[in-house]
């Protein structure tokens, strides 16, 4: 098993395998998302409290979940890169950041749209949205630290430590924000409450979750391949690959 792990750390090997896996991830993810969208927009009945407005949940909830999942993947890859000194792992961590930031922004925007539809304001300082906002800041900080270093190795290793410090702090930040929010609860109780779940509502949601996850895999692998090409641009195997295609 370790042999497989270490082989994956070799850039040319990873490039090949990732290239073969990406289409599978892309197609399966795409189909699941399509099914989820259809189910969520067409087949799920309107919520008795929120009417049709709740349907944005089908994008908001998976995005929020992915924003957190991506951070964990990023931290894991960073740890592997630090411990095993694996360049591919660092490339994975670097690729995760923009994707995670995009998911976070998506969650924030859909949350804002939901808020506007339901309660007339474009932004509410509720626990989940505030947590997402702070997560976005963490992503920005990570990307800012990376771009501050010209030396790739130092950028990799410094940002890896930052990712690990961040991932440890994310639960603390989240729970302190939840605590803060419960203190100042005004009239709105659980603003972003999930509607009472009927099976027709739940199934599309699950499809979306899985679809987002798998599509994330496709996007990540594509980005990492690009990152690997960039980092290894002066290596011999690149020329062999490019001359083949």
């Amino acid at each position: 098993m370790w042999i497989w792990f270490h082989k994956l750390g070799s850039p040319p090997h990873f490039y090949r395998i990732a290239g073969r896996m990406t289409p599978w991830f892309a197609w399966i993810g795409g189909i699941l998302i399509a099914a989820g969208v259809v189910g969520g927009l067409v087949f799920a009945p309107p919520d008795y409290q929120q009417g049709d407005g709740f349907r944005i949940l089908y994008v908001h909830a998976p995005s929020a979940w992915m924003s957190l999942f991506t951070y964990i993947v990023m931290a894991l890859a960073a740890a592997i890169g630090l411990v095993w000194r694996m360049k591919v792992a660092h490339a994975v961590a670097a690729s995760c950041a923009p994707i995670g930031a995009a998911f976070t922004a998506c969650a924030l925007v859909t949350g804002a749209v939901w808020g506007q539809k339901m309660w007339g304001t474009w932004w509410v300082w509720d626990a989940r949205l505030t947590s997402e906002l702070i997560l976005l800041f963490l992503y920005f900080g990570y990307m800012a630290l990376r771009s501050a270093y010209d030396d790739q190795q130092r950028a990799d290793r410094a940002s890896a430590i930052l990712a690990l410090v961040g991932v440890v702090n994310v639960p603390i930040i989240h729970y302190s924000v939840v605590w803060w929010n419960t203190l100042h609860q005004a009239a709105s109780v659980s603003k972003m409450a999930r509607p009472s779940i009927a099976p027709e509502m739940l199934v599309p949601l699950i499809l979306m979750f899985f679809g987002f996850n798998i599509l994330f895999g496709a996007v990540l692998l594509t980005r990492v391949r690009g990152e690997v090409l960039l980092r290894e641009r002066s290596a011999d195997w690149i020329r062999a690959v490019l001359s083949k295609s």
Binding site: L145, A148, Y149, R154, I161, N169
Partner: protein
């Protein structure tokens, strides 16, 4: 061969050196304190001088001002040592880098954070905070500034090789400092309302213990990367 200096001796030696250096540049100590007071003044000027309104915003203003002025002083934690080569000499002395970083953080707090805590009642009073609440605020700031110094040591270590890193440093440290801000401001808020603030204070204490035990390790790893 002379006897090797122990870990505690090395740490104390480093704290003594940093304190001595700080006293040779008093402005570096005073400037953040003055900044704290100036920022506190900005809010009554920009909002309203009415005591009732000031008392409402006092917890937030005090804590944000303390946070920002502490951030100002953070860059100096490691930058000067990294620039004149003394940081790598300290690492090469063979003493554990964790101890070196923790000692520098402690010295940095003694020079920057502690004076802020001592001067906080002045700022608090100007915002109409009651004496009992001033005491709670000082307690909270004691733990909060110490936590921030440790968090900041990680940020400072990560940005050793970056020129003009103060904004980046703030960007890295501020999100991580938000829990501390939430608990600290809440403690002051409760105290002003005359209620017991022990809950948030205990949370602040827990946060401090957590940060103080883990941050030096992260900072030490970052220092080793930074001096390569």
């Amino acid at each position: 061969m002379n006897a090797r200096t122990g870990i505690l001796g090395a740490g104390l030696l480093l704290i003594e050196r940093d304190l001595r250096l700080a006293f040779r540049r008093p402005s570096q100590v005073f400037n953040p304190l003055v900044f704290f007071l100036v920022v506190t003044t900005l809010f009554p000027l920009s909002l309203s001088p009415l005591p009732s309104q000031l008392r409402d915003i006092a917890p937030g203003v005090l804590w944000v001002a303390a946070l920002l002025s502490s951030l100002l002083a953070l860059e100096a934690l490691l930058k000067s040592d990294a620039e004149d080569g003394t940081l790598e000499q300290m690492v090469l002395s063979g003493q554990p880098v964790v101890v070196l970083v923790a000692a520098k953080t402690a010295a940095h707090w003694l020079v920057g954070g502690l004076p802020l805590v001592i001067i906080s009642p002045v700022a608090a009073m100007s915002l109409g905070v009651t004496p009992a609440a001033m005491w709670v605020t000082a307690e909270g700031l004691l733990m909060g500034t110490l936590t921030l110094s440790f968090l900041g040591s990680v940020g400072a270590a990560l940005t050793i090789g970056v020129r003009r890193s103060s904004v980046l440093l703030s960007l890295l440290v501020l999100p991580l400092a938000m829990p501390m801000l939430i608990f600290g401001a809440r403690a002051t808020d409760l105290a002003i309302a005359g209620e017991a603030a022990s809950g948030p204070l205990y949370l602040l204490g827990a946060l401090l213990v957590f940060t103080a035990t883990l941050a030096p390790f992260a900072a030490a790893a970052a220092v080793r990367i930074g001096i390569e």
